[in-house]
Every structure is written in structure tokens, then in C-alpha cells.
Symmetry: C2
Subunit: 436 residues, 2 copies
């Protein structure tokens, strides 16, 4: 007998089917029980006569069971069907009387603290809402890859063990690599540029990157999943922003369609990007913050989290957009590979994308001239010789190029309104946590 | 003017188009040159009058250029078209007179040694054949994800920084994680099992894993891309092998169709799996090797590389298959989570998949009973307390489950007949190499 998933039961009305899954909830009646069975596809109500139950513990929540029964139409039930169970088998017993917190509250709400949830991560994910985060996140990753594949981007897989060559701006994790030391890559930056130049022209990568940052905030992870792209033969950074606008249009439209039920658990609505995201120069953004919210920054200083929130509020109110590109960051605030702006060499052809008050993307055009790049490295007090592995391809006709990275946990958290980015990581690594 | 790719030129006969790419080769004639332009999509012959060339160095191989010209039909040309160039612009010059080795030999052949190729990896990939390895590899990864997605598998992203919990059998890279030590994950094994139990039931992951192995062979990488799957509510390990047979059928059929031109560079033909891969017990395989090839192993010893090659030769000759599952490995040769065989508790419900003489998959059914697993851990001299993070979900109704991992570089190398697995890694990490 082939197993049938809960969501497919309604297409087997009158038939005898085999179900498998976990006991979500049981309501004991006189002589029988209502049993809600949960599998990867959803929930289904079953009616189990006491005589069918092999042992009393078989009805404990979270027990893994197989049920054979006949499907009855039931228009009131969410699945449109109910199953009268004829045979019940315990596939794997639940040895614990209670889970660490209530998994099956109304609307799948979770009342446990985040620390408790993460400490017991696999059991926590038995909760439908916590699991829904990752169903939606998977569709985000799928949409990212699918859109870029259709746009002629090649997937790349670049090393996470690197010899040195810090890009600057962050601390690195140190590794014992046989008799020498190595580091965990903070991003695929150098490698994705090199592979654009290698002839792939347009590349993307989805994978973990590593930041040995000391801060332990709700926005930071020490291991996070970066969705990177890089593209050659561009005019300037505007092409890269155009690509991101097209990508996010596809992505959010896909999520809206594919994840309606899961989104509803969070009351979340993906933004309608419609191919366009407003672009605002950083200096103009600062003027706006000063004028409108009396929020002022010293010369050359970046927006703080409050400024990012306020500028999004402004963009929402004035431009009707939950997303806004901030552009023209100062040279001093960007890595050495960033292309300076030809109109003002103190500024760069770079951008951040702010979504609901949080930066989810950093990107820009890169320097593609070999000598200019070598000089930019020197000007940061670094030795271009240490970057030979990176610079070589720039001597072989490196076209103008640029790219960006989207933090998968961050975009997920912002879409769903999660207050901590850890909720959007299966097994987050932070300042203090490396288990489970 | 929108850029047109070389492969699309033929659909613009008589039109003026903009091309961009690299100069692949130039043949100077009297007053003009034949110029082969290369972009991410292929090669295209262009005719450039001397008067159009902006500077003599503009015609150097590997220069990045933009060309504007008119498309002429040319049935003899591979693209069915030729372009008469009217305007030429150097996008980025090639500063080197010659690349480290010849990139554009006939049939895109490469004569350089592997060390030279890897030392200059980005430049090397300007060669069409070396780049084709990754075009094909990308389709393998795409097929893996796509097939499993259609079969109801959820993608997972599990941490590569782990606290301890060696699975055994390999050395781990050690990491400074703030004030304590951590390790790089040798596989997503524990985590993928935990997420099956968490309610996803069927999961896959594609990502790097790390082995601090001292050996430096043509079959080993210290960082390799593992394509993992794990599935719950199975009958036994036969279900997992069935899934792999279905997956590889889809995968190889897809490659045959999508990559015909690139495969031809290697003279490679994907096997016709047709949903079935022969299964052979390890003890029977050893009898066959002894009887047929006079190749004998001491009791309890695994096949060596020569044995793997011979058993594939046998499978090819006798069963007409380039792939063969070896099953029923001894308990002593498998990790502690492996399900023992109920008929012979010295053996396990495990398998390897051998493809053209190389193991590309290890898999099997796992122990799903909590106490049996804890005991198996103890029996290896390990302390179950150290595995609490892993064992917890086994107390909450852990269904029978199993899974496997396919090494992406290995399956690519075997398909294309590459003699060293490093050729199938963008930037291989081995005993001595961590650059570029």
C-alpha cells in the first residue's frame, strides 16, 4: 500500500489509504478519539476507535504512527476529508511526556523564549509556524537561483577556506590548516569577480560565509547564508540595481503565490516591487533625516539602525515603497575594490538596499582596471603582492563589472516580521552559541 | 543599443548589432582581420577592417572588446552567421603578451600541467573546455535540487561550524571560535537526520564539507561539495537506493539533453540508468573479484581502488551497467549511526555507489531507536552525553530513515573522464594548496 499525504486524502474519498506522520493532538471521547495527524504536507483529522489503539502510549503527542483507514468527505474539515482509522501502528514512540514547550497551540503560536526554541531546535521545528519560516525561506533561495539561471547567470562554488587576503571591514575566523593557518571566507567577493573575468560573465553563489564579529545583536550571525551575484560588461552600478529590482520582483511575486498559507501565519505580505525600487543618494537621505526627523549625523558617518528605519518610513510614506536603495557611499566607508564615482572621487558607485528598516544587500560597481585596483589596495596600507591571486585576471581584459549580496536570513526575517535574525537560521551560530 | 550574444547573432541577419566579449583569436589578412569573438555563450567570426581597429594592441588575444557590426548569413560558420565590424572599442586591454599556456588550441585542448592550470585558475577558465567542466557540473547540481524538490524534499542549510561530535572516520579542521575551539563539519549527517525528525521528513542540502585528511590523492579534496539527502518513513535502505536510481536517471538524462555540445569536448556519454542500478552484496563482490580476477582481500577489509575498478568492469561486462551499488558493509566499517542488518548483526543496511570504478556515494539506513543509537555510540567508546544535541529528537518519535551523499566533484570527474578530482573544483583545497 502506497502512503498518501494528508493534503491528498480528499482525492481518495471512499478509499482505504495508508497515512504516516506524527500525532499532533488527540481529543479523547467516549470509546474513541479525534486524532490530528501531522505530516510534511499538513494536518488531517482522523477518528480512532479505542479498540484500534495498540497501547495507551500510542496516543501520546509527537508519536510517529502509521494509520490505515477509509476517507470520508467532510466539508468542514480544512482538508475537506476525515479518515476513519481501521489499523494503527506505532512507527516510533515518543519517550517524553511533554515537549520543552507547547508545539500545537491555536494558530500554531509559540510562546517559548528564543533561547529555549534554539536550544531544542529540532523538536521546536515540529511546530508548524517555526517550520513555515524555512518553507518560505526555501522558496526565496529557489527564486534567487531560478531567476538568475534564466538570466544567463552561472552557479559558482568558491572556497570558504582562504589563505588570507582580508577584504577589510570584518574579523575573520582562524583555522589550523595542516602546518599553516588559514581563514574562513567572509564573502565570495574576490572569487566571484575572478570568475566573471574567467569568462562566465554572470555568476551567482548561494552558501555560507563567516564573520568573526564580537557583537551579539538581533541582526548579526557569525555564519550566514549569502546569496551573491556578480555581472560583467555592465555600464555602471545602475545595471546591478536594475538586476536586483528584477530579481526581487520575481522573488516576492513567487513567494506571494507559492506560500500564501504559510505567509498567513505571520500576517506577512511580500512587497509589490513591480520592477522598480527607488534610489536615493546617501547625502540626500541624510538631509531628509535631518529635515524631517531632526536626526543628524557627523560628516562621513553611516546611518545607524534608527536612521535605516526612519529612511524606510520616509520611503514608505513618500514613495510608497518598503524598499529603498541608498547610493553614493563615501570611499572611506567601502572596501578597496569599490569603483569611485567619476563625478566625485570621494564617493563610490555603491549601494545598500534597505528593506523595512534593515540593510539586506550591499553592492556596487567594482574597479576593473588593474593598476587602479593595485593602487587602491596600496592606499589602504595593504600590499598588492598579497593579492596576486586576485589581481592576475585583471591583467587579461577585465570588463566593467559589479554585483551584490543578499543575506538570506535577513530578507526572510524582514519579510516575515521576525524580530531576531536567528529565527531565520536553522542552527544559528553567534557569539556564544555553536550547539545544537 | 542592447548587446546581442554570439549564439543569437544568426537571428539578426542583415541587422546592425552590438557584441561584447573577449578576443579569442585573430588571423591577419591584407587590410583586414578575421577575429573570433568569445562571450559566455560561444564563439563568433567577425571581419574587422584595419581602419576600424583603434590601436594595434586592440587585436591582442584576451582583450575585452565591444563590436558594432552587421550580421551576414554564413552557412559554413558554426553560428550560421558572420559579422562585418563597423566600430570597435577596447573595453579592457590585455596587459600580458601571452597567457600562462595556450588557451585557444584546436578543439579547445589543454596541454598545460594541472598545477599550472590551478595556479592560474581564473585565466585558465578562459579556455572553453576547462569552463565546460563547470557548465556541466552546474547542470548536475541543478538536476539534483530540481528532482528532489519535485519529490517533496525540502532544502536545508546546516551549520559548518560545529562544537564537536565527530562522526568518526576522518580528521577535522580545528577553528578558533572566540574563546573556545570549534570544528568544520565533515558532513551534514547529524543535522540532516535531525531535520527529518523535525518534521521535514525529506531533506536535501548542497554545500561544502571539510575533511582534514593528510592524503593527497587524485580522488580527495579537503573541501568538497556534498549533495546530501535524507528521508524518513522508509521501509529500509532499499528505498534510499530506489530514490538514488530515480535521481540519477533524471540527472543523467538531463545532462545528455542540456549539455550535448560540452559533453562532446570530452567524448563523454552519460549512462542510461533507466530507473535501475544493480545491487551487489559486498561479500558477493569479493567472491566475484577472487573468482574472476584472482583479487583477494583479508576478512573485513574494504575494496581498494583497484577492486572498485574491477567490480565496475565486471558490472559493465555482466550487467551492462557503469554503476553498481555495493551493499551490506560490515558494522566495523561504518559509522555508529548505521542501522545493523536484522539478518546478520555484523553487517549493516548500508551501501556505496561505484561509478566507473570510483565511489561517488555513501548511504544507508540509520538507527532510529533512541536507546539503540545511544548504545551504538557507547560501543564506539564515545559518550552519549556529548551527543545530546543529536539524540534529543530521537526521543520524540523518530521514524525509520536513511539517506546518502554524492560528491559533486567526483560525479563530475567520472562523467567526463577527468583523471583528477581537482579538475572538477573551481578552486580546489588540498594538502598543500589554498590559493588562489
Amino acid at each position: 500500500m502506497e502512503r498518501v499525504l494528508t493534503r491528498d486524502a480528499a482525492s481518495h474519498i471512499g478509499e482505504r489509504i495508508l497515512l504516516a506522520g506524527w500525532i499532533h493532538r488527540v481529543r479523547g471521547m467516549k470509546g474513541f478519539s479525534f486524532l490530528i495527524l501531522r505530516d510534511r504536507a499538513g494536518l488531517l483529522q482522523c477518528v480512532v476507535d479505542d479498540s484500534v489503539v495498540p497501547e495507551p502510549l500510542a496516543l501520546r503527542n509527537e508519536t510517529a504512527v502509521e494509520l490505515v483507514g477509509t476517507v470520508k468527505e467532510d466539508k468542514r474539515a480544512p482538508q475537506g476529508a476525515e479518515v476513519t482509522v481501521e489499523k494503527m501502528r506505532v512507527v516510533a514512540p515518543c519517550l517524553e511526556e511533554r515537549p520543552p514547550f507547547e508545539l500545537n497551540l491555536k494558530n500554531h503560536e509559540v510562546t517559548a523564549a528564543l533561547d529555549v526554541i534554539l536550544e531544542h531546535r529540532p523538536v521546536s521545528l515540529r511546530n508548524e509556524k517555526l517550520r513555515a519560516v524555512f518553507k518560505i525561506q526555501n522558496e526565496i533561495a529557489w527564486a534567487f537561483r531560478t531567476y538568475l539561471r534564466e538570466q544567463g547567470f552561472a552557479e559558482i562554488r568558491t572556497p570558504k577556506i582562504v589563505a588570507s587576503g582580508t577584504e577589510g571591514g570584518t574579523a575573520l575566523f582562524k583555522l589550523e590548516y595542516f602546518e599553516r593557518e588559514a581563514f574562513l571566507a567572509q564573502s565570495p567577493q574576490f572569487y566571484k569577480q575572478m570568475l566573471v573575468g574567467a569568462g562566465f560573465e554572470r555568476v551567482y553563489e548561494t552558501g555560507f560565509v563567516y564573520r568573526a564579529e564580537e557583537h551579539n545583536t538581533a541582526r548579526h550571525l557569525n555564519e550566514y547564508y549569502s546569496m551573491d551575484l556578480e555581472m560583467g560588461f555592465i555600464r555602471d552600478e545602475q545595471d546591478v540595481m536594475d538586476t536586483e529590482a528584477g530579481l526581487l520582483t520575481f522573488l516576492f511575486d513567487h513567494i506571494r503565490e507559492a506560500c500564501a498559507e504559510d505567509l498567513a501565519l505571520f500576517g506577512a505580505t511580500p512587497p509589490s516591487v513591480g520592477g522598480k525600487i527607488p534610489r536615493l543618494r546617501l547625502d540626500e537621505a541624510k538631509k531628509t533625516l535631518a529635515g524631517r526627523y531632526d536626526k543628524r549625523y557627523p560628516e562621513g558617518e553611516d546611518l545607524d539602525p534608527e536612521g535605516e528605519r526612519l529612511i524606510c518610513r520616509w520611503a514608505q510614506e513618500e514613495l510608497g515603497s518598503e524598499l529603498v536603495f541608498l547610493t553614493h557611499y563615501p570611499v572611506a566607508k567601502r572596501p578597496m575594490y569599490t569603483m569611485p564615482d567619476s563625478d566625485d572621487p570621494m564617493l563610490t558607485r555603491s549601494f545598500d538596499l534597505i528593506y523595512k528598516g534593515l540593510e539586506i544587500t550591499t553592492g556596487g560597481q567594482r574597479i576593473n582596471d588593474h593598476d587602479q585596483l593595485a593602487e587602491s589596495i596600496s592606499r589602504r596600507g595593504l600590499d598588492p603582492k598579497d593579492f596576486d591571486f586576485y589581481l592576475e585576471i585583471f591583467r587579461y581584459g577585465m570588463p566593467p563589472h559589479g554585483g551584490l549580496a543578499i543575506g538570506l536570513e535577513r530578507i526572510t526575517a524582514q519579510l516575515l516580521g521576525l524580530t531576531n535574525v536567528r529565527e531565520a537560521s536553522f542552527f544559528p551560530r553567534d557569539r556564544t552559541r555553536i550547539t545544537p
